[in-house]
């Protein structure tokens, strides 16, 4: 055995690694191209499916994902992240706005909520999208675990009035959960704050973008 055979040059390793990297990248690229359309369709279907419960059966124009606006921080909404708002129009008139907000004061980390508010300012429905609350206690806010979250449907800033937007233990009008008070308190507060924001910024939320205004102009003449 010669020295060259026993100890191949360093570039040999580099070439092997480069070839392997090329093969692996090709494999991932191929899988990505095959799956990308299905993954996009799944994401769209999941979005429509998860927004449906807070729409209370309202009919609307087009795709909800196309009328989304994002409200950047700082804003008076719960949490300090950008908030997505899915605006619902029927015959180009505002029907409802769906807010995705994070309640910051949950028991374990933020609670991501989907809050539907009709154009007249009453709740069309609320659902918990993500949370890490204690299983069996705080997780009863999830609609798959209990009906607690359904009590908000139909509520607004006039029924009950803002000072009564709290759980019963705190002198408010909303049911609490046995063994958990921090979690429901955080959810009630987040919904109230979102309603207050909507009340103050209703026109800005539904304001159409320039391209849509151009569209409307063409329709009405």
């Amino acid at each position: 055995m010669t020295d060259a055979e026993r100890k191949p040059p360093l570039w040999n390793s580099a070439v092997i690694l480069a070839v392997l990297a090329a093969i692996c990248t090709a494999l991932v690229a191929l899988t990505y191209r095959t799956t990308a359309p299905r993954i996009a369709a799944n994401a769209q279907a999941y979005l429509e499916q998860s927004l449906a419960p807070v729409l209370a059966g309202l009919s609307y124009d087009g795709k909800l994902s196309e009328s989304t606006i994002i409200i950047p921080p700082p804003h008076e909404l719960p949490g300090n992240e950008p908030v997505s708002v899915y605006r619902v129009f029927a015959d180009r008139k505002p029907v409802a706005a769906l807010f995705v907000v994070s309640a910051q004061d949950g028991f374990v980390g933020p609670i991501k909520l989907l809050i539907g508010i009709s154009a007249s300012g009453s709740i069309t429905g609320v659902r918990v999208l993500e949370h890490r609350e204690t299983p069996g206690l705080g997780d009863l806010i999830d609609s798959s675990r209990s009906d607690w979250i359904l009590q908000f449907s139909g509520a607004s800033l006039s029924s009950p009035e803002p000072s009564r937007w709290a759980i019963r233990r705190d002198g408010g009008d909303f049911d609490q959960l046995t063994g958990a008070s921090i979690t429901p308190r955080a959810v009630v507060k987040a919904i109230r704050d979102t309603l207050l924001y909507f009340d103050a910024h209703r026109d800005a939320v539904f304001a159409t973008t320039d391209s849509e205004q151009a569209d409307t102009g063409q329709e009405t003449h």
Binding site: I16, L17, L20, C24, L27, V28, Y32, T34, T35
Partner: protein, 218 residues
């Protein structure tokens, strides 16, 4: 044929990656709160293990000791990325339920351990069989712990199998009314695994005892 039965016995029992080697415990403990989660991650890990063993074995002539770890990392991480995309495309609900634990298969040391210990020294066929049996051993353990924790924690079994097979939302079979919360919390995962390991050791001890008794009798 002998190698297959040997490999089967070693993967499922004597060298089970979870029960005996105690490898890949992070996903094992984190996702086994229900049977369907365990089954889903079990299948994903099994697939990665089979393909990574086959690929490492096929390229073992080019593997040089100084670059073997980067090569394993490349192969395993590409495979895991592919599996994740496949899950998101065809089993979106399960993909969402397992979340970060699919990408984290990369860090399952059972996979790099099989690449280093077995696949880099054996034929493609033997390595594929090894991947299958080791993966099956890991997947079965995930299913068993998942089922155990689901029965005790939720009082039901086989809930949400639709995430894997499609169709309507399946609530599963309800065995008990309510459940013992601890089982689905993280401590429940450790306690369940400990019970399984203890059970296996006890079975082994009894078998050994029986063999010794027989020897003494003759």
């Amino acid at each position: 044929m002998n190698t297959i039965t040997d490999s089967l016995r070693s993967g499922l029992w004597t060298d089970n990656p979870g029960l005996v080697q105690l490898l890949g415990l992070c996903p094992l403990l984190a996702v086994t709160s229900t049977f369907v989660n365990g089954l889903g991650l079990g299948i994903a890990t099994l697939a990665v293990l089979v393909f990574s063993n086959a690929l490492v074995s096929a390229t073992r002539r080019f593997i040089r000791s100084e670059i073997r770890i980067p090569m394993y990392v490349l192969i395993i991480s590409s495979l895991v990325t592919c599996i994740e995309l496949i899950f998101l495309a065809w089993f979106p609900a399960l993909g969402r339920s397992l979340g970060i634990f699919i990408p984290l298969i990369v860090t399952n040391c059972a996979i790099v351990a099989r690449a280093e210990v077995f696949a880099s020294r054996n034929t493609v066929f033997a390595s594929t069989v090894d991947g299958l049996t080791m993966g099956a051993g890991f997947a079965l353990l995930l299913c068993a712990i998942g089922a155990f924790r689901e029965i005790i924690g939720h009082g039901s079994i086989l809930a949400r199998l639709d995430m894997l097979f499609g169709g309507k939302v399946l609530p599963g079979l309800t065995l008990l009314d309510g459940g013992f919360l601890l089982a689905i919390l993280p401590p429940g995962a450790f306690i369940s695994l400990a019970l399984f390991v203890a059970g296996k050791n006890e079975l082994d001890r009894r078998r050994l005892q029986r063999i010794q008794d027989q020897r003494r009798a003759t």
